[in-house]
Symmetry: C2
Subunit: 316 residues, 2 copies
C-alpha cells in the first residue's frame, strides 16, 4: 500500500492541489477557485474538503497520507504561523498549520508561496537537486526564494529572498506595494515592464510595432523586441539591466551556484536569459561572474511541487 503527500498552493485567484508519491512523483493534480468572500473563512474548509474527496475518489485510506504542505502568499513563521496576507484580503494572523491539522488530522507545514516555488524548481525541477541556488519569479511581481546549504533562507523577519524589493533606481515616480520607491519589482515584473511601455508610448506614440497591439501585454513587448522593434528592445533592455544589477547584488551576498528564472516573463526564454546574464556579468564580483542562469521547468506547478517537497523535508 503506497503512501502519499499532498502539496497545495493557496493563491488569490485559484488554489492548486497535487497528490504526490513519497518520492515526489506527481500522481494527480487539480485546481479550484479560491473563495475569497467571508475574509477567507472558507480557505481551510475548502482545502480539507478537496483532500478528503480525493481520498474517496482514488480509494486511498487516511493513514496513507503522510502529510500536507501548503504554500501561502505571505510571511510564514516556524512553518506554521501565517502573517496577514495582503493578497488574501488580510487573511492570516494565526497558526494555520495547527488549525489545518486539527481539521484533517495529518501533519501540516506552511511555506511562503515564492519559497515553495523556489523549493519546487531548485530541489525537484532542476536536473539535480541544488544546494545553493536563487530562484526568481518574474510575474505580476518579482518574487524569489534563496537556498543556502539545502535550506531556504527565510530570514529573521521572513524577509529573506525578497529580491523584488531591492532598490535599483532613484526614480521616485513608481510607488511599490511595500510603500517604497525604486523597488526592482516595479521595473522588472510583467506589470513593471508594461508600465514602462505605456509611459514611453504615451510620450512617443508612433513608429513602434507595440502600437498595433491592443490591449498591450508584457508578452507583446517581448515579441516586438524579438522582431527587432527598437523601442521594445530598449524597454526590455532597461528592465533586464535592472534585474541583472539586482542579481549581481544578490550574488555579492550569497553567491549561488545557479540563478533560475521563472514566472510569466520567463516565457521569453533564451532571449531574456541572454540579456539578464549580460548585465549580471557587467555588475557581478569577478569570482562570481560566470554563475550560470537557467529557465524554470515546472511552470505554474512549481508551487505544489515545492509545498510537497517542504512536507517531505519536514517529515524526515
Amino acid at each position: 500500500m503506497s503512501n502519499y503527500i499532498f502539496g497545495v498552493d493557496l493563491g488569490g485567484t485559484t488554489t492548486k492541489f497535487g497528490l504526490f508519491s513519497m518520492d515526489l512523483t506527481l500522481v494527480d493534480q487539480w485546481v479550484i477557485p479560491t473563495r475569497t468572500e467571508k475574509n477567507g473563512d472558507d480557505f481551510l474548509v475548502d482545502i480539507v474538503l478537496e483532500l478528503q474527496m480525493k481520498l474517496t475518489e482514488r480509494g486511498i485510506f487516511h493513514e496513507q497520507i503522510k502529510g500536507v504542505g501548503i504554500g501561502v502568499p505571505g510571511a510564514v513563521l516556524n512553518a506554521a504561523f501565517v502573517k496577514p496576507c495582503v493578497n488574501l484580503n488580510g487573511w492570516g494572523g494565526f497558526d494555520v498549520a495547527a488549525e489545518l491539522q486539527k481539521r484533517c488530522n495529518w501533519p501540516c507545514w506552511i511555506v511562503n508561496d515564492a519559497n515553495a516555488a523556489a523549493l519546487g524548481e531548485l530541489r525537484v525541477g532542476s536536473e539535480r537537486p541544488i544546494r545553493n541556488g536563487v530562484f526568481v519569479t518574474l510575474g505580476t511581481g518579482v518574487g524569489g526564494g534563496i537556498m543556502v546549504d539545502g535550506k531556504l533562507l527565510s530570514g529573521e523577519h521572513g524577509a529573506g529572498g525578497e529580491i523584488g524589493h531591492i532598490k535599483v533606481t532613484d526614480d521616485m515616480s513608481r510607488r511599490c506595494g511595500c510603500g517604497a520607491c525604486g523597488c526592482l519589482e516595479q521595473y522588472a515584473s510583467a506589470t513593471g515592464i508594461l508600465t514602462s511601455a505605456q509611459q514611453t508610448l504615451a510620450k512617443q506614440p508612433s513608429g513602434s510595432l507595440m502600437t498595433e497591439r491592443f490591449p498591450l501585454t508584457c508578452k507583446d513587448i517581448f515579441d516586438c523586441a524579438q522582431k527587432g522593434d527598437l523601442l521594445a528592445e530598449h524597454l526590455v533592455d532597461v528592465a533586464e539591466r535592472m534585474l541583472g544589477k539586482a542579481l549581481a547584488a544578490v550574488s555579492c551576498v550569497c553567491d549561488p551556484e545557479v540563478f533560475i528564472l521563472g514566472g510569466g516573463v520567463s516565457n521569453a526564454g533564451q532571449f531574456l536569459l541572454n540579456r539578464v546574464q549580460k548585465y549580471f556579468r557587467q555588475y557581478a564580483f569577478p569570482a562570481a561572474r560566470d554563475t550560470p542562469f537557467a529557465l524554470a521547468q515546472l511552470g505554474s506547478d512549481a508551487g505544489i511541487y515545492g509545498a510537497a517537497y517542504f512536507c517531505q523535508y519536514n517529515l524526515k
Copy 2:
C-alpha cells in the same frame, strides 16, 4: 593540563597571533611584521616559528595545542586552499592548510580574513552568539561576513559576503580594485569618503573646517561633521546613504537579526550608526525595517578571535 588553540591573522603589513583557551578566552597575543619579500615564501616559516617559540616561552607541550585557525586576505576553498591574494602580492594558489599542517603537525583551518573578523564579532564579541548576522568592516575597503544559521555564507565561488562590491551608483568615475565601477567600497570605505572629500574640496575649497586639517583623514571628516561642518556632514551623509541602501539590499537577501559595523570608520560610533540606520530604514523591506545595528567590540583583534573560533568550530 589545559588545552589551547592558536588564532592567526595574516595581513599585508602585520601578522597577529592569539593563544586561546578552549573556551576562546584570549590568554596571550602578539604581532610581527609580515615579511612580504620572496613572494611570501616566509609566511608559513614565520608563523610556525612564532607558534613554537610561544610554546617554549610558556612551557606548553605540543599536544596541548588542539589546532590552528588562520585568516588570510583572499578567497579560501574548503577551509584549506587559498586562491592567489592580491594584497599579498599574489601569494597563494595552494593548499595552505595541508602545507602548514605538514610543518607544525597540528590540525589547521584557513578562513578568509573578513570572514574571520565576522566570526569573531558575531560569535565571540557580541553579547550572545549570533546565528544570523551581517558584519561589515569599513576600513581601507569595505569587507563583510555573513552568517546564516550559525555558519559563514562563503558561497559557491567564495564571493559570499562581498558586500563592498554591491553596486550603489551609476557614477563611472571611480574604478574599483575588482575592475568594476559603482562599488560600495569606492564610496563608503575610509578611502572612499576621503576621495569624495578631496574631490569636493578641490571644487569648493573655502568655508569648511576640513581645509584646516592636513593631511586630511577620514577621521577628520567625521570630526568636522560632528562639529556641524555642513560640507563634511554632507559627505558623511552621502556615504552612509549608500551604505544604508546596500545593507537594505543585503537584508532583502538574507534578512539578518543584526548588522554589526566595524573597521576604522566605525570609530565614529553612534554618529555613524544613526545615519546608516536612518537610510537603511528608508530603503529596507518593511518587515526588516527595525533590524538593529551595533558597533563591533573586538577592534583589530576580531581576526584572531574569529580564526580561533573557526578552528574550535571545525574541531567539533
